[in-house]
């Protein structure tokens, strides 16, 4: 077969090493995607369309004498677009309530603790749309805002305790849906020193 000077038929197939390398690469990519978190490491879907009173994992835990609460750790992306000194009690619109209870590691509610909330809505970007509120006597903070809109591929909310004081800073990023009316993000703080 073939005419003089033609390349032998064996050379018309890809080199086995190249085939093996590509197959290995495909397997590695599949593993990398399989091991990834859909919304990013540590980000939970905390949104719901339920009424007020729904609660996240920490708040749902039984809280009684002798209980301990696991400290909240800053999750990856929690600090994204954070700005210190957010103004107090800025009206951010209506449609989505972001709330939660702030506790210490003995699960005692912490009143008067500043909590900053920021998110992207139709009326403001994540860098502009922020406010700080104080927790009430039950340790609960509450922010009413326009619904979250997709930002970098998914609607998300940021909740942080960032003020100087007796409690260590913590920054959280969690995801919601655009039609959610409630997002519950509880915080468990540890002493600053």
């Amino acid at each position: 077969m073939g005419h003089p000077g033609a390349v032998p038929a064996t050379r018309t197939r890809p080199h086995p090493a190249a085939v093996g390398a590509v197959l290995l690469l495909v397997a590695m990519i599949a593993a990398a995607l399989w091991r990834s978190d859909e919304s990013g490491t540590g980000a939970r879907d905390e949104g719901s369309t339920g009424g007020a009173g729904a609660a996240g994992p920490a708040a749902a835990a039984t809280v009684g004498p002798g209980s301990t609460c696991t400290p909240t750790l800053t999750n990856p992306g929690g600090r994204n677009n954070y700005r210190p000194d957010a103004p107090r009690d800025v009206p951010l619109g209506r449609g989505l309530e972001i709330t939660g209870v702030v506790r210490d590691t003995l699960c005692r509610p912490l009143p008067g603790v500043p909590v900053q909330v920021w998110l992207q809505t139709a009326s403001g970007s994540e860098r502009e749309n922020r406010t700080t509120v104080l927790t009430d006597a039950d340790g609960r903070y509450r922010v009413e805002t326009d619904p979250a809109v997709s930002q970098f591929g998914e609607p998300n909310v940021h909740v942080a305790h960032d003020a100087e004081g007796p409690w260590r800073d913590v920054f959280q990023r969690h995801v919601v849906d655009t039609d959610d009316t409630l997002a519950v993000v509880d915080l468990v703080l540890v002493p600053a020193s």
Partner: protein, 205 residues
């Protein structure tokens, strides 16, 4: 071929129209708009790219360069506009969709480099085409796949258009791969060229 190019161009125009008409980009910073539109055009270009390898290699080279530039614009615009979220997305902690985009971008750079270095690599044509083509399939699947998963400017009707364009590109690349793996007869004009363009293949402008 002209029909395929027309379909891809129409799909790209629809994506651009949907993105501009939707609420997501209304009031968005200019860099976000630029980034999104660059991605829309890049998807259309990727859809037609593998089909250009048969008789329009010159155009394949040009469109490949255009895709590389568009994806660079897409990524750099996001990095400048929102470095926190962009760097987080590119990190190991980023969400699945961002990991898909990151891998697709790296592979696109490799595919483009393979094209630029084709003669210097001195690989057999079949090996080069297999590696270039199989990585190109991954670029299309992961790149368009991340656009499908993302919530934003191309939700709704944008999803079937993205899937159609991605399918067009992926099928084209797989068809070319199958031809390589079937080992064309010795003496075929494609075997000894070491990446040289045949007459009429090169850019004419």
């Amino acid at each position: 071929m002209r029909i395929l190019i027309g379909v891809a161009a129409l799909g790209g125009a629809v994506l651009v129209g949907l993105a501009l008409a939707g609420p997501h980009l209304a009031g968005a910073p200019p860099l976000v708009v630029v980034s999104t539109l660059a991605a829309c055009v890049a998807v259309a270009a990727l859809a037609v790219q593998p089909w250009l390898t048969r008789r329009r290699v010159g155009w394949h080279l040009r469109v490949g360069g255009i895709v590389a530039v568009l994806v660079t614009v897409h990524v750099v615009a996001l990095l400048v506009e929102d470095p926190d979220d962009a760097l987080y997305s590119m990190s190991l902690d980023g969400p699945t969709r961002a990991r898909m985009a990151l891998i697709a971008t790296v592979l696109l750079a490799v595919v483009t480099l393979l094209g630029v270095l084709r003669r210097r690599l001195r690989w057999s044509p079949a090996t080069w085409r297999f590696v270039h083509g199989s990585l190109a399939v991954l670029v299309v699947v992961l790149g368009v796949g991340h656009a499908v998963i993302i919530q934003g400017a191309l939700d709704g009707w944008g999803t079937p258009v993205l899937l159609a364009l991605g399918g067009l590109g992926a099928v084209g690349a797989v068809v070319r791969l199958v031809r390589v793996l079937r080992a064309p007869p010795a003496g075929d004009a494609t075997t000894p060229d070491r990446g040289r363009l045949r007459s009429g293949d090169g850019p004419r402008g």
